[in-house]
Amino acid sequence: MYRYDEFDHTFVAQRVAQFRGQVTRRLDGELTEDQFRPLRLMNGLYLQLHAYMLRVAIPYGTLSSRQMRRLGRIARVYDKGYGHFTTRQNIQYNWPALKDTPDILMELAEVEMHALQTSGNCIRNVTADQYAGAAADEIEDPRIWSEIIRQWSSLHPEFSFLPRKFKVAVTGAPSDRAAIAVHDIGLRAVRNGDGEIGFEVMVGGGQGRTPMIGKTIRPFVAKHHLLSYLEAILRVYNEYGRRDNMFKARIKILVHEIGIEEFRARVEAEWETMRGGPVELPADELERIQAYFAPPAFAALPAVSAAFVGSRAADAEFAQWARTNLVPHRQPGYAIVNLSLKPVGGVPGDASAEQMEAIADLADAYSFGEIRVTHEQNLTFPHVRQDDLYELWRLLRPLGLATANIGTVTDIIACPGLDYCSLANARAIPVAQRISERFADVGRMHDVGELKIKISGCINACGHHHVGHIGILGVDKKGEEFYQLTLGGDATETAALGDLVGPAFSYDGVVDAVETLVETYVGLRHDGERFLDTYRRVGLEPFKEKLYAAR
């Protein structure tokens, strides 16, 4: 993992001091809430329905055990004993007191963390594939480039007042686990004809009220030119992005309005003037950062652990968990372990202080002290010996972290919705809870197979409903919550936006509607077809018929 050196420590400490001054000026009345707003937003501090909310950056979703322990401590000392992991791999605290926030930032700085650029119209915290450094199909470790982008974008003097927020996601593998196609910039590591590694650059993807799949602006940018290319894109966006209407200010609208060809031409012209210039990372600095992401000291092990195979045969519940929550590791004898933050009836993405602290201890014991946060609001131990899996599973179970449901119908993404958020039109969390209770039976979950349900409480789409296999969007109709359903969305390398299925369902009716969709799929599926495959084969009609037949 990356470790701060004295420059990074100084920088974050100065940021904390700056914020402390700003909070003091606010508490003293020197700043009005209006004047304070842009300042606190630069530090991830929002004012929500009931209280301030602090969004802490977890750069590219990577945490050390020490950091996780500290997140747990902050939840206990400064909040109500829990935190919420988000689709941007961050953590949100929902109940901090304003006066405490500088101390929270100081506690974070002690473990090399911050809340920089988790809000505001700047380059936001970079997200990446949670299986970085462990996935078998990886071409390039996305953490290296995410860290480089994190540093380059930190308090960037030219790009801190963009037309709108700006999100970058990086995947190092052909499989896209970082939803790069729905980001302002998506980067995918690729090899060119000469075997050289670089990035395919996508631009103009996004969700929100105008969802769009990103377009490839350049199929290959050499690694050593990445920063100049990003700087060129940001500069064109900063100059030409719309500032007259906040809802049309994202880069996707600019790319859509002038067309990808024209946008590309402007970026290329800009790039000409700066390619190879001072913005490029010096080679020795790349080596320095790269070295932090060297693989941990793996043991030489057989590809498959006999102990693991034995436990799986002996314990059916363990086998169920292994089926959904494990992912093959590139290192023989190891596995990637997903910890579900989606217990049946629970709040998706929430973890208690006790859970966080226990996770930190388990990471030390079983995963080289490393933890990842996934954009699907779960946690990952990236490097676990297969020999240890059974023991680890037994320890995770009493913590409520071993639900065997990763990728299934109960592994639901949900935004905070009307329970917390001042923008929401409808509740999202209780809908997720009720759906997971409906499908609580693990056998049924596994029979239904891969099915991604994503719920947003308003059109801002923080719950990624546009790219859910089943997307659920909460809307307000004359003061009543209703839910629109979309089908066929996909956030991976085969990205697609969901299709609206028809009239919305009531809060009471939406769970039945989801069940009808699932049962319709089960009735129609061919062997080996996932929900998404069946949908792509048969289209909207059969689902629509069943859904509205009773009406």
Binding site: F7, D8, P38, Q151, H156, E158, F161, R288
Partner: protein, 167 residues
Amino acid sequence: MPLVKDGRLVDDPWVGLADDAPVPAEGLVFVSLTRFRAERDALLARGAPLGVRLKSSELAPEIGTDVPLLALVAVEFPTFRDGRGYTTARLLRERFGFKGELRAVGDVLRDQVLFMHRCGFDAFEVADEAALEGLKAAMAEFTVFYQPATDDRTPASVLRRVRSAAE
């Protein structure tokens, strides 16, 4: 409006001319881009230093090739949210080689002057004289920078190299 330059309050020697105001025979004046374009030759023929004031929507290329003729470019920030001026400043300095005074005018907040300075601004219009102390404090809030810009602050990546070479 009070003007801060090089960390001090200074008397502003420049007069901003409205588009319909008569041009004085002498003295330092700056005009809108519209007026500069319309009366370019007459304004330059005065022989006195000339400046241009850009709206935030008037980007660097619109004035770029003329900057050798100018002693001042004032860039408007109609609201602190409008960040086009940062790019305008960098391009005027880095691409078009502007050496004169680059002045930030409008909604210039204390928490932005460091960004502005990094992009090449060297003069700031402030709301009142009391703002000076805050401005000076804000300029000193950071000593570590992660990216090269127009200023001469050395980015951390380069300092790290210097440090490891010394070890």
